[in-house]
């Protein structure tokens, strides 16, 4: 269960960490009930500030992906249908829209977009 960050990227490091954790969950490598390493441990492994990792964990907590339990640390929530509330799906669609729009503006055809979307899905869901 490796995560990697690119310190020179434009994407802030805490977002990179959060995204990688989400990806590990989507791939089924991390499951509900699994604990993430302590903020200190992950920060020292990646040589980043503890606040950075803390921020990623809190972002994931806000999204309902993990629970921060005093003493036992950050625990992944089981993926349950309830989390996909109307509000959540509205938010995700809202985030997809500008990306799809950008792709269209830059000349990607709707078919290509669909193709990319399904190949990403295959990658995450496939073996």
């Amino acid at each position: 269960m490796f995560i990697q960050i690119e310190p020179s990227s434009d994407i802030p490091i805490y977002t990179q960490v959060a995204n990688q954790i989400i990806e590990l969950i989507a791939r089924g490598q991390l499951k509900g009930g699994d604990t993430l390493p302590s903020v200190r441990a992950l920060a020292s492994d990646l040589s980043v500030n503890m606040h950075t990792v803390n921020k990623s964990y809190h972002e994931l907590e806000q999204k309902g992906i993990l629970r921060i339990v005093p003493k036992s640390g950050a625990v992944i929530n089981p993926i349950v249908q309830e989390w996909l509330t109307n509000e959540n799906s509205r938010k995700i669609i809202g985030q997809l829209k500008p990306i799809i729009a950008e792709a269209l503006v830059l000349g990607m055809s709707p078919d290509e977009i669909r193709q990319h979307a399904s190949s990403i899905l295959n990658d995450l869901k496939g073996e």
């Binding site: 269960m1 490796f2 310190p7 390493p37 200190r40 020292s44 980043v48």
Partner: protein, 368 residues
């Protein structure tokens, strides 16, 4: 006797110092990170060879000089000790100077050849590293302290038996050659120093546990196995050192209390045995484990990723030796030129772990 000690340590220094470039990771050359595929660049190979050859040849010449010179009957023991120390210090300074020279050359070569530009620099971590970590539990380091505390209590109970002059320094032959007036403090000063050392070792182990497991971007899995092995063996090495120190100091304390135990052969053999054993242990450790476990054999297939490389962190390594990173919560980091741990100078806890004990020991020595 001093000659034998100097010859053994000097020979050890020559072998280890000249072997160092070959005990290190291929991708860190004289404290500079080099992408895997350029690590064996011909200039870098020649830098390594030149360093080793210079240390080895000059070291061997001075060793031969020491032997020949000491055969001269007019040489006093004092002269021998001073020359021996001077040669050892000289050899260490020489390796440092050579290191700095090649560090500058490697830095320059990396810049001129622009090795970094084709790669994206990344840092990798495994979420499970720490659950697989087998650094010895801290309580193992507490056990030898019971021996020390037991000896302190025993010394107190035998206070009347103690001589009026407490030995505080031992000569090369194991005979005490400096004494201090008997007081409750001076009678246990040696044990207090031992206790400080034991606490320091405990602190090092605890700090190592809290330090990051740094993986190599191109070899995630094998570097993880090596890192974990490095952590495990280093903590075993430290524990063995602690145990040997406890035996040595404990024995010296017992001979002070019971003069009858002062057996000349044993008094000489024990410190010498300690020295030889420590050198042998360090050599085995250096050659078996290598830097960050780089000599631990692993056979694991890695996914080839040629477009990424390790984040070089060169900016955080002053002169390629001193790690200063305020962001990194690690207290210790693996050494870049050498084998073992080094302090993260950006994290003040590291100073506490190493320097407070040294100051305490100096204070005890001063007030005895």
């Amino acid at each position: 006797m001093p000659l034998a000690i100097f010859l053994i340590t000097l020979a050890f220094l020559i072998v280890v110092q000249s072997a160092i470039p070959f005990l290190l990771k291929r991708t860190i050359v004289f404290g500079v990170t080099i992408p895997e595929e350029h690590a064996m660049d011909s200039s870098l190979v020649s830098f390594r060879r030149k360093y080793s050859a210079a240390v080895f040849i000059i070291g061997t010449i001075s060793l031969i000089f020491l032997v020949l010179w000491s055969a001269n009957a007019s040489v006093s023991e004092n002269q021998l000790v001073i020359t021996g120390l001077a040669i050892q210090t000289g050899l260490l300074l020489l390796s440092m100077a050579l290191y700095l020279f090649f560090h500058a050359k490697t830095t320059n070569l990396k810049k001129v050849k622009d090795w970094n530009s084709r790669f994206t620099q990344i840092r990798v971590a495994d979420l499970q590293s720490h659950s697989k970590d087998s650094i010895l539990p801290n309580f193992m380091y507490v056990l030898p302290m019971f021996v020390t505390v037991g000896l302190i209590v025993y010394t107190a109970s035998q206070y009347n038996l103690l001589p009026d002059q407490i030995p505080i320094h031992w000569g090369p032959s194991g005979e005490p050659d400096a004494f201090s007036q008997k007081t409750p403090f001076s009678s246990i000063a040696l044990l207090l120093m031992l206790l400080v050392l034991q606490v320091m070792m405990l602190g090092i182990n605890a700090a190592a546990k809290l330090s990051g497991v740094k993986l190599n971007a191109g070899k995630k899995k094998s570097s993880q196995l090596q890192q974990l092995a490095f952590r495990k063996y280093t903590s075993w090495f430290l524990l063995l050192t602690t145990i040997l120190l406890t035996i040595l100091f404990g024995f010296m304390q017992l001979t002070t209390i019971h003069g009858a135990l002062q057996n000349d052969t044993l008094m000489m053999a024990l410190p010498l045995g300690f020295l030889v054993l420590m050198l042998a242990l360090s050599a085995v450790y250096a050659f078996k484990v290598g830097q960050g476990g780089s000599r631990i054999p692993v056979s694991i297939e890695e996914d080839e990723t040629s477009s990424v490389t390790d984040d070089d962190m060169d900016d955080h390594w002053k002169l390629g030796v001193f790690y200063v990173n305020k962001q990194d919560p690690s207290i210790f980091v693996e050494k870049r030129f050498g084998i073992g741990w080094s302090i993260n100078f950006g994290n003040p806890i590291g100073y506490l772990v190493l320097f407070v004990p040294i100051v305490l020991i100096l204070l005890i020595a001063f007030f005895v």
